[in-house]
């Protein structure tokens, strides 16, 4: 029928419509604070936090021989681990025309982004601690022809030997066997953190127990990938890697593997996550720009190298 104005002859005033349901903002797995001790720094007493440990006394000798001679006293040794609190910040400045002409409720959306930045930045800072200040051993048992090799069961067992030899404590409880076909229990375990690039290689390690085979799935974190020997592996796309560092010039992936009290994260009281807003009349002389910011203070430290070791590995693909 002629004469009807419809969407075929009249273009919409708005070129498109906007779905109220926002698509997901990608977020990588935040794994690098798993298992580390949380400490708090008070205000007004400097930016260095000291954590101290009294070393155990020697167990040699000690028998009184009846002569009346006292045993020599032992000098107590205290080890101090210091960490410097540092402040990190991110800001977003928004021009009024963004909301006036184009977008709605951006303050809420951008605040959520800054909140995500807080946690992601914190995770990467902890990753850098493990990447820089820990001794790693090159894997040799996984094949691949490079130095280090792919990850192998023998390499994982070697790290367990080191940790057990240093009296490290596991931090994840036993996953007890259940009367379910195809499941396998896991032992009480240390934690291992690695890149998602190693997913295929982890599956190929002799004795691997993938997460879906655990007898109980309750409480498992989505970041967990598998269990090998006494280690539960957690993966992240942002886990540490060193491009061009192997013997053959390939990327090396570092896998920190640790037990209780190996590392610490120190948060500043009252400064762990601050989100703020500066209104247009403050940011801009003509009131056109407003500002959102996020900031936090953090200190980090390896508190006991004896309870922390790890592997350098290369990847098969």
């Amino acid at each position: 029928m002629l004469g009807i104005t419809n969407i075929q002859n009249m273009a919409p005033e708005l070129p498109l419509q906007f779905s109220e349901d926002l698509l997901s903002t990608p977020q990588f797995n935040l794994i690098h604070s798993f298992g580390c001790d949380l400490h708090f720094a008070d205000a007004y007493i400097g930016k260095t936090t000291r954590m101290s440990r009294y070393e155990r006394l020697s167990t040699e000798g000690g028998q009184l021989d009846g002569s009346g001679v006292d045993p020599a006293p032992e000098v107590v040794v205290r080890t101090d681990v210091d960490a410097t609190t540092e402040i990190f910040a991110k800001t977003v400045v928004i021009n009024e025309q963004v909301t006036l002409f184009e977008n709605d409720k951006v303050l809420t959306k951008f605040t959520a982004l800054l909140g995500q930045w807080l946690r992601e930045k914190e995770d990467l800072l902890m990753r850098d601690l493990y990447a820089s200040s820990v001794s790693y051993i090159n894997a040799v048992g996984g094949g691949g022809g490079d130095q280090p090799s792919l990850i192998g069961a023998g390499d994982v067992n070697n790290i367990e030997r080191i940790l057990l030899g240093n009296d490290a404590r596991t931090m994840l409880a036993t996953n007890e066997a259940a009367d379910l076909f195809g499941t396998a229990p896991t032992r009480d375990a240390f934690i291992a953190l690695c890149s998602t690039d190693l997913a295929a290689d982890l599956q190929a390690v002799n004795g691997v127990v993938l997460k879906n085979i655990y007898p109980h799935q309750e409480g498992l974190r989505p970041e967990e990938y598998c269990s090998i020997s006494r280690f539960r592996f957690f993966v992240s796309s942002k886990a540490n890697k060193i491009p061009g560092a192997s013997l053959l010039g390939n990327t090396i992936y570092t896998i920190p593997m640790y037990g209780l009290e190996a590392a610490a994260k120190i948060e500043q009281n009252g400064y762990t996550s601050i989100l703020g807003y500066r209104p247009p009349y403050v940011v801009s002389s003509v009131g056109q720009n407003s500002q959102l910011y996020a900031k936090f203070a953090l200190a980090r430290a390896i508190t006991n190298q004896n309870w922390l070791s790890g592997l350098n590995v290369t990847a098969s693909t």
Binding site: D82, A131, S132, S133, Q147, L247, N306
Partner: protein
């Protein structure tokens, strides 16, 4: 507001160059020589300097340049030109990345000699103190992946003071390989270090591939990780306290970069790199890492150890941008005794 004053301060010149950290960066930098300002100096002394950052586009200052306001020929006549203008003098250099931070393309080496210390033959543009990662080596596979500090550098090669006596340490000379320059500081300090030798002594001397004095201090504790393939695995997982740094001269298998620790290694197996034929099956590398510190005070010498807060705490090791003010009467940092005021600005756009 177009400009924000970020920071400012004053210092008394020693005649040498001065580094001023600018963690928030800067777009404009200004200096005043307060001492020379009221005088009629005998030479063309600079009394003000200005530097413009990249936001000024074509007007930005080049490296070692900037604007200078100088008094001319013992009169109070003021002349304004650039530091690069004849007669040229050194000016401002704004450093945003460490000279050794940049990730560079692979650079081929043609050999690592068995001299003591080792000498690398390579066409390069490196500078003394740079850190390079050596990889893809032929002839000696067991140092592939290690980081070394270089010295005595020239366009055709350099010396690895941290790699003494290749043969004595169980290594072979390399005939080829590649290097990449790497950051001088890790993301977090104190960083782990590669070990190239451990002596058998009442107080073991631990040689490192880079100068440990940048990263460690006397009184700090270090934790050893030495795979069995390196011989002296008895020291692995032990913790020692640093008694001295670079105090032992290079001799035999001991390199110029070393720390002396309170561990008696006389009864240990000798340290040696695994033979190259064992690569890639030999576990690598021998390293040590920070295990805190132990405070002590000697009432006789009045020396306190374990309180070096510039090196001891775990902290960010990333590079902080800085402004380098060249020293001298005709440069922004002035001559010895001059009082220099400086202010850094940020352009708000």
């Amino acid at each position: 507001m177009a400009f924000t004053i970020l920071d400012g301060d004053t210092f008394t010149s020693t005649g040498a160059g001065v580094k001023i950290p600018l963690p928030s960066s800067a777009d404009y930098f200004h200096t005043w020589n307060i001492t020379q300002m009221p005088l009629a100096p005998a030479t063309a002394v600079v009394i003000e300097g200005e530097w413009f950052g990249p936001k000024f586009g074509a007007g930005a200052s080049a490296a070692n340049d900037g604007l200078r306001l100088k008094k001319s020929n013992s009169t109070n006549v003021l002349v304004k030109d650039t530091f690069a203008t004849a007669t040229a003098s050194n000016g401002f250099t704004y450093v945003t990345t460490s000279p050794v931070v940049e990730a560079q393309a692979p650079n081929a080496i043609t050999g690592i000699t068995a001299a003591n210390p080792a000498v690398v033959t390579q066409t390069n543009t490196y500078s003394d103190g740079d850190l390079v990662r050596i990889y893809n080596t032929t002839g000696d596979l067991t140092i592939g992946g290690m980081v070394f500090q270089i010295s005595s550098s020239s366009s055709s090669g350099y010396t690895l003071l941290g790699l003494a006596n290749i043969a004595g340490n169980g290594l072979d000379a390399a005939t080829a390989g590649f290097t990449r320059r790497v950051s001088k500081f890790a993301a977090v300090e104190p960083e782990f270090m590669y070990i190239t030798n451990i002596s058998k002594a009442n107080q073991a001397v631990v040689s490192t591939s880079v100068d440990p004095s940048f990263y460690y201090a006397v009184g700090m504790k270090i934790h050893f990780s030495v795979p069995k393939s390196f011989g002296m695995s008895e020291i692995s997982q032990m913790t020692g306290t640093i008694l001295a740094i670079n105090a032992v001269g290079a001799s035999g298998n001991i390199g110029a970069y070393n720390v002396t620790v309170d561990i008696n290694s006389t009864a240990f197996t000798a340290f040696a790199f695994p033979v190259t034929d064992l690569s890639p099956s030999a576990q690598l590398f021998a390293t040590f890492s920070s295990q805190g510190a132990q405070t002590s005070f000697n009432p006789v010498t009045l020396v306190q150890t374990g309180y070096d807060f510039t090196k001891q705490p775990f902290r960010t090791g990333q590079f902080t941008p800085y402004m380098f003010l060249a020293g001298g009467a005709q440069s922004p940092a002035g001559a010895s005794g001059d009082i220099i005021n400086w202010i850094s600005y940020k352009l708000e756009r």
